[in-house]
Assembly symmetry: C2
Homo-oligomer: 426 residues x 2
């Protein structure tokens, strides 16, 4: 029969396993960040390429695609490794959800060659190409989201939440780059377009707010440095010209030079963001390594105490504060037993505190979950595709000038009143 | 490189692993329920034995102790099995917390022989013996609580929550049996005693309320049947006599016959409760088996689809609703790909729904967590032992005639105003 101390050790080993798993997931998140960055560049180039009917970025596309392919191989290898090492039996809390997200995004990666052929043959509009890349990036971000949501250590979870929000904010910035470049190249401007541009700015800002809330001062310094004044000034100027109705009307002619300039300024901004992502990924690696080393050190301490214990501890100190032993003198064996009980209590309190803190960190992910849930509701009740559901929520938010999450919340609150649409979806 | 479908399968395998782990934990919970029942009987006997200065229950104690020992061996074997099978690597979400609870309770089991010797030698008061057994049972219940809190399947979690609350309610009923038997045997009655008796009744009722909220109609029928009218009428009569100030004063003489009668009626009630516990444990086993079989069936279905898939799926259907393929005709391969994507989406939605439902079920465990957190706060700020912290919360609740959880919540809300006591604890 095993002693209490063996279970104290078993608990520590579980924590170490979880930390090891988190370290692998964190590495994967770093890789995904690099792939997403490359795909964002490819999306931007593809848009300008399509909008200019194959004139601009024709040469730069190929090396960009090659870079994407190389990173894609690394990410796929990371997925495979996660799956191999996870089986049989080594499952952390949310592995099923994480794998389900990976299962969702892989067909998207499989579909990239066909997508690229069609872009090369100018068979798609810029909007179609943007939508396709955005869907793929959203799938990759969902993997990062699940990694953040499933982390069992609050400090690591904080960093993953910061990382996810930074990546998501950067993705909105990337969407804005592509959207703006295509708009300026086509010289089209209407109210819907202005609204969507504004919406992309707002979404970015919310993400970067969560990111700053969860980041260290070192990361924040890098972030402020990356958003340098001259670049941001140019971007803000173009934003103002494009989203204010009066000015937009006057600028409503196709302007390849303007489109290129916008694209370049945004690229400078987004490339600078990459340094923050690198730093976050490095911090994540360092934190995982430090936490694991610390847990292994504690484990060793426990094992030393176990070595010093008498083979058959009496365990009677357990009942000390039930007042049954108040009169007995202290002995060496009892002292050791007491120190084991103290270690157990300390561990128990630490695990409880971790679990409380984890709950607080995860609460920041709830907004996205609410939106996902509202989408699921629409998909079930109105037989919509995910894309349609998202558009409907977005349109409602823009019409009512409310935040997406508030619309989602109202919708969920009214769930019981929604009729179940019996019409088949396809 | 693995396909999306392999990860769909990996996600299912993770779920199956978790279900297998839950089945083992559920078996353990059933064993713990039987051990707790036996310890509760031993506590009751020990109390009457001590209160009667070794006259009553002298003969029945030994066979009861033997039964406890046999069950203790089974529970210890269950703990050991959990630890062996959990390592290396096979860690479910809360294994660390579960093991930490086991580490806490094992020294209590180790201390039982010494406790029994001291009871046999009449070295303890009934109150001391009750406190010691209650602490041990609380430790065992904490293991069950952690099992309920860590379950990853909402249906199983519901049953575990029902089981935990039933066991906890039954424990309060057991404490009431011991408390009442000792009070009546000693013939002592004062306001504090009446308050504690009332408190034990209230705590029971809250637990049984949660249990009924989370139970099937079959279990509820058994529960109502177990609380038969004649037994409950006798118990309620004695409660009324003991907790109403006027009547209690007149009954304030040692009465061995009354103590024995109370003990016997309560025993009939608690023994009848055992059938509910058995039923819950059986339901839990059956549910785990059914869920596992169902998940294995789904897994097989996926594997068959995987066998039918072309070796190099093109994956282009992923971008269908990004409007890039609207004009292409459907083909067999695309049809199959679409069905895989549908399976992924269905799985993803199911996992999300499970996670939402799980959150709802777990919310019912929050009250206990709040109380634990408030205790932790008191222990840290006032340098109290856990026992002292619990008594202080309880006393405040009784003085202010508020629920324990409300006192805990107020205390946590004021956490920032609590001074940190610098005096050493020991």
């Amino acid at each position: 029969m095993k002693s209490g101390l063996s279970f104290l050790i078993a608990a520590r080993k579980c924590e170490i396993d979880e930390l090891d798993q988190l370290a692998r997931t964190s590495d994967l998140v770093g890789l995904i960040a690099r792939l997403v960055h490359a795909l964002q560049r490819e999306r931007g180039m593809s848009n300008v390429f399509l909008a200019s009917r194959g004139v601009r970025f024709a040469e730069q596309r190929d090396p960009q695609i090659a870079e994407c392919l190389a990173l894609e191989q690394e990410v796929r290898a990371g997925f495979d490794q996660l799956e191999t090492e996870a089986h049989p039996g080594a499952t952390a809390g949310n592995s099923a959800r994480l794998f389900s997200r990976i299962a969702w995004v892989l067909p998207g990666l499989d579909g990239l060659p066909a997508l690229r052929r069609r872009i090369g043959a100018l068979e798609l509009t810029p909007a179609q190409a943007t939508a396709a890349f955005a869907k793929l990036v959203a799938g990759l971000l969902a993997v990062v989201f699940e990694a953040a949501d499933g982390a069992t250590d609050p400090e690591i979870s904080r960093l993953l939440v910061a990382m996810f929000n930074f990546m998501q904010g950067k993705e909105f910035a990337g969407q804005e780059r592509a959207f703006g470049a295509a708009s300026l190249a086509l010289g089209r401007s209407d109210e819907a377009q202005r609204q969507q541009w504004l919406h992309l700015i707002e979404l970015q800002e919310r993400c970067f707010q969560v990111f700053t809330d969860f980041s260290s001062s070192g990361v924040l310094a890098l972030w402020h440095q990356s958003q340098s004044d001259p670049v941001m000034a140019e971007i803000e100027r173009q934003r103002r010209m494009s989203v204010s109705p009066a000015q937009a009307a006057s600028a409503c002619v196709p302007d390849a030079r303007l489109s290129q300039a916008w694209f370049d300024w945004c690229t400078r901004r987004i490339d600078a963001m990459k340094t923050v992502e690198h730093r976050l990924a490095a911090d994540l690696r360092e934190l995982c390594a430090r936490k694991t080393a610390q847990a292994r050190g504690e484990l060793q301490k426990y094992q030393e105490v176990l070595g010093n214990l008498a083979p058959q501890p009496e365990g009677a100190v357990f009942f000390d504060d039930a007042d049954t032993r108040a009169t007995e003198p202290a002995q060496y064996g009892r002292h050791l037993e007491r120190s084991v009980l103290d270690m157990v209590q300390e561990q128990s309190r630490r695990l409880q505190a971790m679990s409380d803190e984890l709950e607080t960190v995860r609460a920041s992910l709830n907004e996205r979950k609410l939106v996902e849930r509202a989408k699921g509701l629409l998909m079930a009740h109105r037989r919509m595709s995910e894309n349609e559901a998202h558009k409907m929520l977005l349109q409602t938010a823009m019409n009512q000038k409310r935040r997406l999450v508030d619309v989602a919340e109202s919708m969920l609150a009214m769930a019981d009143y929604l009729p179940l649409d019996a019409a088949p979806r396809r």
